[in-house]
Symmetry: C2
Subunit: 400 residues, 2 copies
């Protein structure tokens, strides 16, 4: 149906069934008899389609994929049989007939708004409902070979965008001009159009370009460097700030392919880079190199953070490490997948032995007040023996 129009590979049936089984296992462990999924990203993950509807997963028997709009797309996209509904209330009758609504269930209470939750409780006559999101996020944390294939394609978009950066960055250009040209390049390379971040008020752009002062001004997001944006109505992203020699232009770009997000950062400099940035870059580089050399299954996320912090301290750059002052962030890495804020989080607060198939962005960055920001961000796949990088774009400062 979508041949020649759309290029994203459909999710194989075995893949969808494996994901649903992994969730069921966790549901049983947590005493849940059923899960109700309505958020589009989770639907896409568990049913292979994000057409409008509801996915009902009982701990036993077939999952029920109710679709209101559109049936055609859902049938084409999902390996699960589609049950057509005209309106949300139609779900009740079909579920009631199956006797699967007993006991305690789960819904995505971290994203489902209160009025919508009340509506579904009322329609289905639900009793006790727990938040199923921690279980979903836990399943989604380990990426399958199919997912890693999508992630690598997403990473190829980053590589192409970073290559383009070499060509286009010139003295006097605004961050906004650079950002929009890079965005064009990303779309040409097949970027899906936008990226997703889970939770209320979690918004993001594909392209962040910061330079000097705009790397230092912080904003609402829990990120080390957010950019200023062109309006305080957005308050992030490239600004009208113009590029000068010797100060890094930091390109933080998010690839997006078939739903899968990647997220890397490189510094570009016109001419000779100022010493303070060189010093900070060298520490970031050492942190990346050391992390890549030791990272494999079994290493704890907290160890990775500690090693990085130790290097920053040793170089007497701790003050600038992962932000400055009250807006310093407490993580150095975040899980990647269909959303940019997946698990694992690499932070001293999240004790987690890393496992084969986890994918995360690792971003040692330094914010130096009065000067600017610099750092590196790479995407890493955890493997049994040795971590694998998602892209192969070099880690060096790109001198122009």
């Amino acid at each position: 149906m979508l041949n020649g129009l759309s290029e994203g590979e459909l999710t194989p049936r075995e893949e969808v069934l494996r994901r649903i089984d992994a969730l069921r296992k966790r549901m049983v462990e947590h005493g849940l008899n059923y899960g109700i999924i309505i958020q589009n990203v989770d639907m896409y993950y568990f049913a292979g389609t994000l057409q409008k509807g509801l996915l009902f997963i009982p701990i036993e028997g077939e999952p029920l994929l109710f679709i209101e709009r559109t049936l055609e797309r859902a049938r084409y996209e999902s390996p699960i049989d589609v049950i057509p509904i005209r309106k949300d209330r139609d779900v009740r009758e079909i579920i009631d007939g199956k006797g699967i609504l007993k006991g305690q269930g789960g819904m995505e209470l971290d994203v489902v708004p209160v009025t919508l939750f009340e509506r579904w409780k009322n329609i289905l006559g639900l009793g006790m409902v727990k938040d199923i999101s921690p279980l979903i996020r836990d399943v989604r944390m380990i990426k399958s070979p199919f997912e890693i294939k999508q992630i690598k394609k997403s990473g190829e978009i980053i590589t192409r965008v970073f290559e383009k950066g070499r060509e286009i960055i010139k003295e006097g250009m605004s961050e906004m001009e650079i950002g929009s040209l890079l965005e064009l390049e990303g779309r040409k390379a097949g970027h899906q159009g936008f990226l997703r971040m889970r939770g209320l008020n979690q918004e993001m752009m594909s392209t962040y370009v910061t330079h000097g002062i705009s790397g230092v001004i912080q904003s609402h997001g829990d990120v080390p460097i957010s950019g200023v944006g062109v309006t305080h109505a957005i308050a992030q992203g490239p600004s009208l700030n113009r590029v000068r020699k010797g100060v890094p232009v930091l390109i933080d770009y998010g690839g997006g392919y078939n739903g899968y997000i990647t997220d890397e950062t490189r510094p570009y400099v016109i001419g000779e880079m100022k010493d303070i940035f060189k010093k900070a870059y060298d520490v970031a580089r050492e942190i990346v190199d050391e992390t890549l050399s030791v990272l494999k299954e079994g290493v704890n996320g907290t160890e990775i953070f500690d090693m990085a912090l130790k290097k920053a301290k040793k170089a007497r750059m701790e003050e600038y490490f992962m932000g400055y002052g009250p807006t310093k962030v407490s993580f150095i890495g975040h899980g990647l997948g269909l959303e940019i804020n997946e698990l694992p989080v690499i932070t001293p607060r999240h004790n987690i032995p890393l496992k084969e198939g986890m994918v995360f962005a690792f971003e040692p960055k330094f914010v130096i007040p009065g000067e600017g920001a610099i750092g590196i961000e790479i995407d890493i796949i955890v493997r049994k023996e040795k971590a694998e990088r998602v892209t192969d774009f070099p880690l060096d400062v790109v001198y122009i």
Copy 2:
């Protein structure tokens, strides 16, 4: 602080106070003693900043703007005094001391997720909380002169993008190529970067390009024409479909300036347009012309819809009007502002006498199976005597 980096005009103090007073009036009418606002868009509307925090509006006394991150930006952006907090729990103590938490309050329950709501209920020891969103949406429905100024600037971006369309559209180009070049043009013209739509799973792009079959394939969104997208993980927007002669390329573009969204559509055609599209375009054009000639304060939204439907019926095009088959939509217009799904909705189901200062997108469109889609979308400001258009880009088919 943001001089030279960011260009969005800050919200004046009188404007913010007027908005808060309008909400308070409605709160009193609905028996609410206080309102708690945490969604970023509503914060931006009522406080002039969307930095991370909480806005507490008691029915009497000063509004309290608690900000966690960043104080600097919030202080610069908001005309309300900022109360610094380190973490969400700090809000409790300050509010408790003022004795303003009595009786029934309101929160944005249409967007606040269940777990976040429970967290705030627990922190503040809240009793009965009602959904304050209908009151907020009602206040936001009438735009002030300050807002209309922002909306017109947003409309200027559309005009520039539509002009660019004349230059770039060529036979054989993909929708994606066209869309990404238009997006570049929009950013060069100062587009804020992304648009907002209220509610769970409500996602959108700035640029929709559809052509022939991609105008006919529907998706999950409640819109007449959504596009196919490059992946079913997004399932909307420009696709890889390539432009042929005689079939309209429909450009549906959303401007975004200082938070304010505009949304217009024009058809572009290479060579002579096929007759079926000419016929549909002529009906759409007549609907737009008639609507503009009668629309002013006091006219009901339902009358506008009825007039349009009557024209479609008379031309025997009712079957294709606002979609085809089960995915036909039931509205011909939607309110614009900081979100693209504001009030009023122009539909037979929403009985509303139009008022000076309402702004909406009006979009008579036809979806013809096997052929494609065509239509016009313009943004309209309701005035006492005669409706005003937001942009001045011509309504004609753009022949290339």
